[in-house]
């Protein structure tokens, strides 16, 4: 006891990786890799310098944005994109609900769980562009390919988050509903749904937002929508029209953003 008073016992937060040699090897390895990676990045500064005035020209070609000369194409593109966004979000979420339920470990038996997790993994492993290229080859150019792409991508996103939200729910509330003798669907409706609903509404709106932005990208590889209009504008060197399209996209994304923030606050 008196010893402790003379020499206070030291305490330090234990390191995240316990083995010292492993800790140092990992740190050194990471530092070395970064050094080599930056060292071999080839930047031709002369070309960068030469490119500056060209870049300036390119940027200035965007001004002033021209909303007028391609207005009809722009409106068509926006309508197509909005159609794609809304339908793919609705269809994607509708499909992802059963998949997400099956992918929740506390709900589904093991075979169903692995099957549904498999679907989610496949859907999530490809970026929208790659899916869009694939579906454009499958269904031909046009918004239907874009719609299928976005629906498919929505399943992976929404299903995974739904499954994870269900796995995080409070089991005692669900247990109490089960104890009343409720059937499985009643149990879902009373014990599970109220717990996950607010977050899922928020995520649905977030996905709507993502799908609108992706609809512009998907169009560039042939999936229709505003992206197709944008791509055409670039191909024809009509940068002022392209600027108009970009501004409209920004405006719509911001509008969706504000509405979804408001709705999320309201459902909570």
């Amino acid at each position: 006891m008196s010893d402790a008073a003379i020499a206070p016992r030291r305490w330090k937060k234990p390191p995240f990786i316990k083995r010292a040699w492993l800790r140092w090897t990992l740190a050194l390895g990471a530092a070395l890799y970064l050094a080599v990676a930056f060292g071999t990045t080839d930047v031709n500064w002369a070309r960068v310098w030469d490119g500056l005035p060209r870049g300036q020209q390119f940027i200035s070609a965007f001004f002033p944005p021209d909303f007028v000369s391609r207005w009809e194409e722009i409106v068509d593109g926006i309508y197509e994109s909005l159609w794609m966004t809304v339908t793919s979000t609705v269809v994607g979420i509708a499909i992802s609900i059963p998949v997400g339920l099956g992918a929740a470990k506390n709900l589904a038996p093991a075979p169903v769980y692995y099957f549904c997790r498999g679907i989610l993994a496949v859907s999530r492993s490809f970026q929208e562009i790659i899916l869009a290229i694939f579906f454009v080859k499958l269904f031909g150019f046009g918004p239907f390919a874009g719609f299928v792409t976005l629906s498919f991508a929505t399943i992976g996103f929404y299903g995974k988050l739904l499954a994870e939200d269900i796995e995080d729910m409070d089991p005692s509330q669900a247990e109490a509903v089960r104890a009343t003798g409720a059937g499985w669907f009643q149990w879902l409706n009373y014990g599970v749904q109220p717990q996950v609903m607010p977050r899922m509404i928020g995520l649905g709106l977030y996905r709507l937002d993502i799908n609108f932005r992706e609809s512009a990208v998907v169009g560039i590889v042939g999936g229709g929508g505003i992206g197709a209009t944008l791509n055409t504008a670039f191909d024809r060197y009509e940068f002022d029209s392209a600027a108009a399209i970009l501004l409209i996209i920004i405006a719509i994304v911001m509008a969706v953003e504000y509405t979804s923030g408001y709705v999320r606050k309201w459902v909570q």
Partner: protein, 286 residues
């Protein structure tokens, strides 16, 4: 009458939670189940309605062998067993009324419950029960807006609207203050008396158990070590249940039915609803 015979539960982790429990609870008896944490109290009552599947042994509720039922039969049997939970286990985002009516889920079809179209008789009964516990003015409040004592009363209504033959009560007072704990226990005991219900009450608080239960069963490491009247709980018995400790202060006088010191404490559970205070207090006392 509830009858357990040789009830054993071994969890997948290998822990033997119940070691061949034999127990009979006649109709109308309120039985307190006491014992240290991990003694198997929660497991025992969950094995009765099979929220936890027993490993072996049988459970009879009157003539029904609960342990032999398939899923559909089990759901129908669960309707006859109301359960009251620790921490209330109300569905927090549902309203008080929806929580109470969820006790009818076993009786109504999926679509009726989905659209909240319950029979008028169910709704009448829900209002009657809420009135009985002094909460009929809060039907459309969300459950998470209520205080602890109010939530537990909603939990009691949810269990009773099932029209059960047996109440399974798991630590009803674990997160309540001393006064509310007594009100809740008194309410449970009175309702059991009114309806001639048998009840198993898991409870940590030995004094509360002595005050309100007709019979005490002490559980230790999955075995019954005491089964008898409340006044048979001597320091020796408590030591055999919980282990060595000074028990003299814990053993209450069984006749002590008035509120005592807890009455004067100002910490009523619904301070923020001052106008309803008297009514809420009545609910516990009448």
């Amino acid at each position: 009458m509830l009858k357990l015979a040789g009830l054993t539960k071994r969890y997948p982790t290998g822990d033997l939670a119940l070691k061949g429990i034999d127990l009979e609870v006649p109709d109308g008896q309120v039985m307190a189940l006491i014992g240290p944490s991990g003694a198997g109290k929660s497991t025992l009552i969950r094995c009765v309605n099979r929220l936890v599947e027993p490993t072996s042994g049988t459970v009879f509720l009157n003539e029904t062998e609960l342990t032999a039922l398939n899923q559909g039969q089990l759901r129908r049997a669960r309707r006859r067993m109301g359960m009251i939970f620790q921490e209330y286990a109300l569905v927090e985002r549902l309203s008080v009324m929806e929580n109470v009516l969820s006790g009818r889920l076993g009786y109504v079809s999926f679509w009726r419950s989905w659209f909240r179209k319950y029979a008028q008789s169910d709704i009448d009964e829900a209002f009657r029960l809420l009135e009985r516990v002094g909460l009929d003015h809060m039907v459309d409040k969300r459950a998470d807006e209520l205080s602890g004592g109010q939530r537990q009363r909603v939990g009691i209504c949810r269990a009773l609207i099932q029209n059960p033959e047996l109440l399974l009560v798991d630590e009803p007072t674990a997160s309540l203050d001393p006064k509310t704990s007594r009100q809740i226990m008194r309410l449970i005991v009175e309702l059991c008396k009114e309806r001639g219900l048998a009840a198993i009450v898991n409870i940590h608080d030995v004094m509360l158990a002595q005050m309100f239960a007709q019979r005490i069963v002490g559980l230790q490491l999955g075995e019954i070590v005491y089964d008898g009247p409340p006044d048979g709980l001597t320091p020796e018995v408590l030591t055999s249940i919980y282990g060595e400790e000074d028990w003299e202060a814990t053993i209450g006088k069984v006749e002590d039915e008035d509120e005592g010191a807890a009455e004067d404490s100002g910490d009523d559970d619904d301070d923020h609803h001052t106008p309803e205070l008297d009514r809420d207090r009545l609910a516990g006392l009448t």
